[in-house]
Symmetry: none
Subunit: 163 residues, 2 copies
DNA sequence: TGCGAATTCATACGAACGGGTGACACCGCG
DNA sequence: CGCGGTGTCACCCGTTCGTATGAATTCGCA
Protein backbone atom coordinates (compact mmCIF):
# COMPACT_ATOMS: atom_id res chain seq x y z
CA UNK A 1 0.00 0.00 0.00
CA UNK A 2 2.66 2.57 0.78
CA UNK A 3 4.32 1.96 -2.50
CA UNK A 4 2.89 4.34 -5.06
CA UNK A 5 4.52 2.69 -7.99
CA UNK A 6 3.87 -0.88 -7.01
CA UNK A 7 4.66 -3.45 -9.68
CA UNK A 8 1.01 -4.53 -9.67
CA UNK A 9 0.04 -2.31 -12.55
CA UNK A 10 -3.37 -1.75 -13.90
CA UNK A 11 -2.67 -4.26 -16.60
CA UNK A 12 -1.78 -6.91 -14.10
CA UNK A 13 -5.01 -6.29 -12.28
CA UNK A 14 -7.02 -6.48 -15.44
CA UNK A 15 -5.23 -9.60 -16.51
CA UNK A 16 -6.13 -11.26 -13.25
CA UNK A 17 -9.73 -10.24 -13.58
CA UNK A 18 -9.93 -11.60 -17.08
CA UNK A 19 -8.15 -14.78 -16.08
CA UNK A 20 -10.52 -15.32 -13.21
CA UNK A 21 -13.57 -14.75 -15.34
CA UNK A 22 -12.30 -16.96 -18.10
CA UNK A 23 -11.42 -19.79 -15.76
CA UNK A 24 -14.81 -19.57 -14.13
CA UNK A 25 -16.58 -19.79 -17.46
CA UNK A 26 -14.48 -22.68 -18.63
CA UNK A 27 -15.02 -24.51 -15.40
CA UNK A 28 -18.75 -24.04 -15.46
CA UNK A 29 -19.05 -25.19 -19.04
CA UNK A 30 -16.76 -28.16 -18.60
CA UNK A 31 -18.44 -29.21 -15.43
CA UNK A 32 -21.79 -29.06 -17.10
CA UNK A 33 -20.51 -31.17 -19.95
CA UNK A 34 -19.02 -33.67 -17.58
CA UNK A 35 -22.20 -33.80 -15.65
CA UNK A 36 -24.36 -34.28 -18.68
CA UNK A 37 -22.26 -37.02 -20.06
CA UNK A 38 -21.09 -39.03 -17.10
CA UNK A 39 -22.70 -37.97 -13.90
CA UNK A 40 -26.22 -37.34 -14.98
CA UNK A 41 -27.42 -40.50 -13.29
CA UNK A 42 -28.14 -39.87 -9.69
CA UNK A 43 -27.04 -37.65 -6.91
CA UNK A 44 -24.99 -35.67 -9.34
CA UNK A 45 -25.76 -32.50 -7.47
CA UNK A 46 -23.66 -33.50 -4.51
CA UNK A 47 -20.69 -34.37 -6.68
CA UNK A 48 -21.24 -31.30 -8.77
CA UNK A 49 -21.50 -28.99 -5.79
CA UNK A 50 -18.57 -30.59 -4.09
CA UNK A 51 -16.38 -30.24 -7.10
CA UNK A 52 -17.37 -26.65 -7.56
CA UNK A 53 -16.82 -25.95 -3.92
CA UNK A 54 -13.38 -27.49 -3.86
CA UNK A 55 -12.25 -26.00 -7.12
CA UNK A 56 -13.50 -22.54 -6.44
CA UNK A 57 -12.23 -22.57 -2.90
CA UNK A 58 -8.79 -23.46 -4.19
CA UNK A 59 -9.08 -20.88 -6.87
CA UNK A 60 -10.12 -18.32 -4.31
CA UNK A 61 -7.19 -19.11 -2.08
CA UNK A 62 -4.86 -18.84 -4.98
CA UNK A 63 -6.43 -15.57 -5.96
CA UNK A 64 -6.22 -14.25 -2.45
CA UNK A 65 -2.54 -14.99 -2.39
CA UNK A 66 -1.85 -13.77 -5.86
CA UNK A 67 -4.00 -10.69 -6.28
CA UNK A 68 -2.57 -8.95 -3.29
CA UNK A 69 0.93 -9.57 -4.50
CA UNK A 70 3.67 -11.39 -2.72
CA UNK A 71 3.98 -10.07 0.78
CA UNK A 72 7.68 -9.66 0.48
CA UNK A 73 9.48 -6.46 0.10
CA UNK A 74 12.63 -6.56 -1.89
CA UNK A 75 14.99 -3.85 -0.90
CA UNK A 76 17.66 -3.37 -3.45
CA UNK A 77 20.76 -1.85 -2.06
CA UNK A 78 23.18 -0.64 -4.62
CA UNK A 79 26.75 -0.62 -3.55
CA UNK A 80 28.61 1.53 -5.96
CA UNK A 81 32.07 0.37 -6.76
CA UNK A 82 33.58 3.14 -8.72
CA UNK A 83 36.20 1.94 -11.06
CA UNK A 84 38.60 4.47 -12.52
CA UNK A 85 36.27 5.06 -15.43
CA UNK A 86 37.03 7.91 -17.74
CA UNK A 87 39.87 10.24 -17.11
CA UNK A 88 38.56 13.20 -15.24
CA UNK A 89 40.12 15.62 -17.66
CA UNK A 90 38.69 15.02 -21.05
CA UNK A 91 41.39 14.63 -23.61
CA UNK A 92 40.43 15.90 -27.04
CA UNK A 93 41.19 12.69 -28.80
CA UNK A 94 42.28 13.42 -32.37
CA UNK A 95 41.57 9.84 -33.35
CA UNK A 96 37.85 10.12 -32.68
CA UNK A 97 37.87 13.48 -34.34
CA UNK A 98 39.55 12.31 -37.50
CA UNK A 99 37.39 9.21 -37.60
CA UNK A 100 34.39 11.40 -38.24
CA UNK A 101 36.15 13.97 -40.33
CA UNK A 102 35.53 16.71 -37.84
CA UNK A 103 38.02 19.54 -37.88
CA UNK A 104 39.46 21.19 -34.80
CA UNK A 105 37.48 24.32 -35.31
CA UNK A 106 34.25 22.40 -35.69
CA UNK A 107 34.96 20.39 -32.57
CA UNK A 108 35.69 23.58 -30.70
CA UNK A 109 32.37 25.01 -31.77
CA UNK A 110 30.63 21.78 -30.84
CA UNK A 111 32.02 22.06 -27.34
CA UNK A 112 30.82 25.63 -26.98
CA UNK A 113 27.45 24.56 -28.31
CA UNK A 114 27.27 21.90 -25.63
CA UNK A 115 27.90 24.60 -23.06
CA UNK A 116 24.71 26.24 -24.14
CA UNK A 117 26.12 29.15 -26.08
CA UNK A 118 24.30 30.69 -29.01
CA UNK A 119 25.92 31.21 -32.37
CA UNK A 120 26.47 34.86 -31.58
CA UNK A 121 28.06 34.07 -28.23
CA UNK A 122 30.31 31.48 -29.82
CA UNK A 123 31.31 33.99 -32.47
CA UNK A 124 32.24 36.55 -29.84
CA UNK A 125 34.08 33.93 -27.84
CA UNK A 126 36.36 32.81 -30.62
CA UNK A 127 36.50 36.20 -32.37
CA UNK A 128 34.86 35.33 -35.63
CA UNK A 129 31.61 36.42 -37.23
CA UNK A 130 28.32 34.74 -36.57
CA UNK A 131 28.15 33.63 -40.18
CA UNK A 132 31.38 31.75 -39.75
CA UNK A 133 29.99 29.91 -36.80
CA UNK A 134 26.96 29.06 -38.89
CA UNK A 135 28.99 27.59 -41.70
CA UNK A 136 31.08 25.59 -39.26
CA UNK A 137 28.04 24.27 -37.50
CA UNK A 138 26.36 23.44 -40.79
CA UNK A 139 29.31 21.37 -41.89
CA UNK A 140 29.46 19.82 -38.45
CA UNK A 141 25.83 18.81 -38.63
CA UNK A 142 26.45 17.17 -41.95
CA UNK A 143 29.31 15.13 -40.58
CA UNK A 144 27.43 14.12 -37.47
CA UNK A 145 24.20 13.46 -39.27
CA UNK A 146 22.38 15.95 -37.13
CA UNK A 147 19.72 18.45 -38.06
CA UNK A 148 19.72 20.46 -34.84
CA UNK A 149 22.38 21.64 -32.49
CA UNK A 150 20.88 19.65 -29.65
CA UNK A 151 21.08 16.57 -31.79
CA UNK A 152 24.68 17.34 -32.66
CA UNK A 153 25.49 17.65 -28.97
CA UNK A 154 23.83 14.33 -28.29
CA UNK A 155 25.72 12.58 -31.06
CA UNK A 156 28.95 14.26 -30.03
CA UNK A 157 28.62 13.03 -26.47
CA UNK A 158 27.66 9.56 -27.59
CA UNK A 159 30.66 9.46 -29.89
CA UNK A 160 33.05 10.59 -27.21
CA UNK A 161 33.83 13.74 -29.13
CA UNK A 162 32.94 15.89 -26.14
CA UNK A 163 32.82 15.01 -22.42
CA UNK B 1 -2.63 9.20 -23.69
CA UNK B 2 -1.80 7.35 -20.52
CA UNK B 3 1.72 6.29 -21.13
CA UNK B 4 3.22 4.11 -18.44
CA UNK B 5 4.89 7.14 -17.04
CA UNK B 6 1.79 8.68 -15.58
CA UNK B 7 1.32 7.98 -11.89
CA UNK B 8 -2.14 6.59 -12.62
CA UNK B 9 -3.72 7.59 -9.38
CA UNK B 10 -5.14 5.11 -6.97
CA UNK B 11 -8.57 6.34 -7.89
CA UNK B 12 -8.10 5.41 -11.51
CA UNK B 13 -6.89 1.98 -10.47
CA UNK B 14 -9.85 1.50 -8.16
CA UNK B 15 -12.20 2.72 -10.82
CA UNK B 16 -10.95 0.19 -13.31
CA UNK B 17 -11.06 -2.60 -10.76
CA UNK B 18 -14.63 -1.74 -9.89
CA UNK B 19 -15.54 -1.49 -13.54
CA UNK B 20 -14.29 -4.92 -14.42
CA UNK B 21 -15.62 -6.44 -11.24
CA UNK B 22 -18.98 -4.89 -11.93
CA UNK B 23 -18.99 -6.16 -15.47
CA UNK B 24 -18.21 -9.63 -14.25
CA UNK B 25 -20.95 -9.46 -11.72
CA UNK B 26 -23.47 -8.23 -14.25
CA UNK B 27 -22.45 -11.00 -16.58
CA UNK B 28 -22.86 -13.66 -13.98
CA UNK B 29 -26.18 -12.31 -12.82
CA UNK B 30 -27.56 -12.02 -16.32
CA UNK B 31 -26.40 -15.50 -17.20
CA UNK B 32 -28.05 -16.83 -14.11
CA UNK B 33 -31.21 -14.94 -14.91
CA UNK B 34 -31.33 -16.45 -18.36
CA UNK B 35 -30.68 -19.82 -16.90
CA UNK B 36 -33.34 -19.23 -14.32
CA UNK B 37 -35.97 -18.22 -16.76
CA UNK B 38 -35.58 -21.26 -18.97
CA UNK B 39 -34.00 -23.94 -16.89
CA UNK B 40 -35.07 -23.25 -13.41
CA UNK B 41 -37.30 -26.25 -13.22
CA UNK B 42 -35.03 -28.95 -14.44
CA UNK B 43 -31.65 -27.44 -13.81
CA UNK B 44 -32.16 -25.49 -10.67
CA UNK B 45 -29.16 -27.15 -9.13
CA UNK B 46 -26.98 -25.26 -11.51
CA UNK B 47 -28.05 -22.11 -9.81
CA UNK B 48 -27.01 -23.64 -6.57
CA UNK B 49 -23.78 -24.62 -8.24
CA UNK B 50 -23.15 -21.06 -9.19
CA UNK B 51 -24.02 -19.88 -5.73
CA UNK B 52 -21.73 -22.46 -4.23
CA UNK B 53 -18.99 -21.42 -6.59
CA UNK B 54 -19.32 -17.78 -5.63
CA UNK B 55 -19.57 -18.49 -1.95
CA UNK B 56 -16.63 -20.83 -1.89
CA UNK B 57 -14.57 -18.58 -4.06
CA UNK B 58 -15.20 -15.73 -1.65
CA UNK B 59 -14.43 -18.02 1.22
CA UNK B 60 -11.23 -19.08 -0.48
CA UNK B 61 -10.19 -15.51 -1.05
CA UNK B 62 -10.92 -14.71 2.55
CA UNK B 63 -8.95 -17.75 3.61
CA UNK B 64 -6.08 -16.83 1.40
CA UNK B 65 -6.03 -13.33 2.75
CA UNK B 66 -6.44 -14.03 6.45
CA UNK B 67 -5.90 -17.58 7.55
CA UNK B 68 -2.67 -18.27 5.78
CA UNK B 69 -0.05 -16.60 7.83
CA UNK B 70 1.69 -14.08 5.68
CA UNK B 71 4.93 -13.09 7.29
CA UNK B 72 6.33 -10.07 5.58
CA UNK B 73 9.72 -11.04 4.44
CA UNK B 74 12.13 -8.29 3.78
CA UNK B 75 14.64 -9.44 1.27
CA UNK B 76 17.65 -7.24 1.02
CA UNK B 77 19.50 -7.63 -2.19
CA UNK B 78 22.90 -6.07 -2.32
CA UNK B 79 24.08 -5.42 -5.79
CA UNK B 80 27.51 -4.25 -6.64
CA UNK B 81 27.28 -1.63 -9.29
CA UNK B 82 30.43 -1.20 -11.22
CA UNK B 83 30.67 2.05 -13.02
CA UNK B 84 32.71 1.74 -16.15
CA UNK B 85 32.60 4.90 -18.16
CA UNK B 86 29.41 6.80 -17.60
CA UNK B 87 28.88 8.33 -14.19
CA UNK B 88 26.11 6.37 -12.51
CA UNK B 89 23.06 4.53 -13.65
CA UNK B 90 20.81 7.51 -13.56
CA UNK B 91 17.71 7.34 -11.44
CA UNK B 92 15.11 10.06 -11.72
CA UNK B 93 15.57 11.61 -8.34
CA UNK B 94 12.45 13.49 -7.23
CA UNK B 95 14.46 15.34 -4.64
CA UNK B 96 16.60 17.11 -7.18
CA UNK B 97 13.52 17.77 -9.21
CA UNK B 98 11.58 19.30 -6.37
CA UNK B 99 14.57 21.28 -5.25
CA UNK B 100 14.40 23.26 -8.46
CA UNK B 101 10.64 23.29 -8.73
CA UNK B 102 10.71 21.32 -11.93
CA UNK B 103 7.63 19.24 -12.60
CA UNK B 104 7.66 15.73 -13.95
CA UNK B 105 6.43 16.79 -17.33
CA UNK B 106 9.04 19.49 -17.61
CA UNK B 107 11.75 17.05 -16.66
CA UNK B 108 10.46 14.60 -19.21
CA UNK B 109 10.64 17.24 -21.88
CA UNK B 110 14.12 18.23 -20.76
CA UNK B 111 15.23 14.65 -21.21
CA UNK B 112 13.82 14.48 -24.71
CA UNK B 113 15.45 17.81 -25.48
CA UNK B 114 18.78 16.40 -24.41
CA UNK B 115 18.23 13.56 -26.84
CA UNK B 116 18.23 16.10 -29.62
CA UNK B 117 14.52 16.10 -30.39
CA UNK B 118 12.78 19.17 -31.73
CA UNK B 119 9.67 20.57 -30.14
CA UNK B 120 7.52 18.96 -32.78
CA UNK B 121 9.15 15.58 -32.28
CA UNK B 122 8.73 15.84 -28.54
CA UNK B 123 5.09 16.76 -29.04
CA UNK B 124 4.53 13.71 -31.21
CA UNK B 125 6.40 11.50 -28.80
CA UNK B 126 4.34 12.40 -25.75
CA UNK B 127 1.10 12.98 -27.65
CA UNK B 128 0.57 16.65 -26.97
CA UNK B 129 0.62 19.70 -29.21
CA UNK B 130 3.73 21.58 -30.06
CA UNK B 131 2.37 24.61 -28.22
CA UNK B 132 2.21 22.59 -25.05
CA UNK B 133 5.82 21.59 -25.41
CA UNK B 134 6.69 25.24 -25.91
CA UNK B 135 4.86 26.21 -22.76
CA UNK B 136 6.57 23.52 -20.74
CA UNK B 137 9.98 24.39 -22.08
CA UNK B 138 9.48 28.10 -21.45
CA UNK B 139 8.63 27.45 -17.82
CA UNK B 140 11.53 25.03 -17.61
CA UNK B 141 13.94 27.66 -18.93
CA UNK B 142 12.70 30.09 -16.31
CA UNK B 143 13.32 27.60 -13.53
CA UNK B 144 16.74 26.65 -14.82
CA UNK B 145 17.74 30.18 -15.65
CA UNK B 146 18.32 29.26 -19.26
CA UNK B 147 17.51 31.19 -22.39
CA UNK B 148 18.14 28.41 -24.91
CA UNK B 149 17.45 24.71 -24.96
CA UNK B 150 21.13 23.90 -25.21
CA UNK B 151 21.71 25.96 -22.10
CA UNK B 152 18.88 24.19 -20.34
CA UNK B 153 20.42 20.84 -21.21
CA UNK B 154 23.77 22.00 -19.89
CA UNK B 155 22.27 23.21 -16.61
CA UNK B 156 20.17 20.08 -16.33
CA UNK B 157 23.18 17.83 -16.66
CA UNK B 158 25.22 19.93 -14.27
CA UNK B 159 22.41 19.77 -11.74
CA UNK B 160 22.01 16.03 -12.02
CA UNK B 161 18.50 16.43 -13.37
CA UNK B 162 19.35 14.35 -16.40
CA UNK B 163 22.10 11.79 -16.95
C1' DT C 1 -15.38 20.43 -1.53
C1' DG C 2 -12.61 24.18 -2.83
C1' DC C 3 -8.15 25.83 -4.10
C1' DG C 4 -3.61 25.95 -6.02
C1' DA C 5 -0.55 23.55 -8.91
C1' DA C 6 -0.01 21.16 -13.05
C1' DT C 7 -1.17 20.21 -17.72
C1' DT C 8 -3.04 21.32 -21.96
C1' DC C 9 -3.84 24.29 -26.07
C1' DA C 10 -4.01 28.49 -28.88
C1' DT C 11 -2.32 32.78 -31.24
C1' DA C 12 1.08 36.07 -32.52
C1' DC C 13 5.55 37.96 -33.02
C1' DG C 14 10.48 38.53 -32.82
C1' DA C 15 14.79 36.09 -32.35
C1' DA C 16 17.62 32.31 -33.28
C1' DC C 17 18.70 28.64 -36.14
C1' DG C 18 19.76 25.90 -40.44
C1' DG C 19 20.32 25.31 -45.54
C1' DG C 20 22.08 26.94 -49.70
C1' DT C 21 25.17 29.48 -52.33
C1' DG C 22 29.08 32.11 -53.41
C1' DA C 23 33.36 34.17 -52.39
C1' DC C 24 38.24 34.99 -50.68
C1' DA C 25 42.50 33.72 -48.29
C1' DC C 26 45.76 30.60 -46.35
C1' DC C 27 48.39 26.34 -46.09
C1' DG C 28 50.35 21.86 -47.21
C1' DC C 29 51.30 18.67 -50.77
C1' DG C 30 52.33 16.68 -55.12
C1' DC D 1 52.24 26.05 -59.57
C1' DG D 2 47.60 24.06 -59.09
C1' DC D 3 44.56 21.65 -55.97
C1' DG D 4 42.14 20.18 -52.04
C1' DG D 5 41.18 21.12 -47.26
C1' DT D 6 40.35 24.55 -43.99
C1' DG D 7 38.87 28.87 -42.19
C1' DT D 8 36.57 33.05 -42.85
C1' DC D 9 32.61 36.01 -44.25
C1' DA D 10 28.26 37.48 -46.51
C1' DC D 11 23.40 37.17 -48.18
C1' DC D 12 18.80 35.17 -48.57
C1' DC D 13 15.10 32.30 -47.25
C1' DG D 14 12.48 29.15 -44.65
C1' DT D 15 12.12 26.78 -40.30
C1' DT D 16 12.45 26.37 -35.53
C1' DC D 17 12.66 28.36 -31.15
C1' DG D 18 11.39 31.32 -27.31
C1' DT D 19 8.28 34.70 -25.23
C1' DA D 20 3.96 36.75 -24.02
C1' DT D 21 -0.67 36.25 -23.10
C1' DG D 22 -4.90 34.07 -22.27
C1' DA D 23 -7.74 30.26 -21.16
C1' DA D 24 -9.66 25.61 -20.15
C1' DT D 25 -9.16 21.32 -17.77
C1' DT D 26 -7.45 18.02 -14.54
C1' DC D 27 -4.95 16.63 -10.27
C1' DG D 28 -3.55 16.57 -5.65
C1' DC D 29 -4.19 18.01 -1.33
C1' DA D 30 -6.03 20.13 2.65
Amino acid sequence: MPLPDAPTSRWTLLRHALLYGGLGGVLIVSLQLIEYRYLVVTHSFEIYGGLIAIIFASLGIWLGLTLTGRPERIVVQEIEVRVPAEPVVFSPDPARRDAMGVTKRELEILGLMADGLSNKEIADRIFVSENTVKTHSSRLFDKLGARRRTQAIHVGKASGLIP
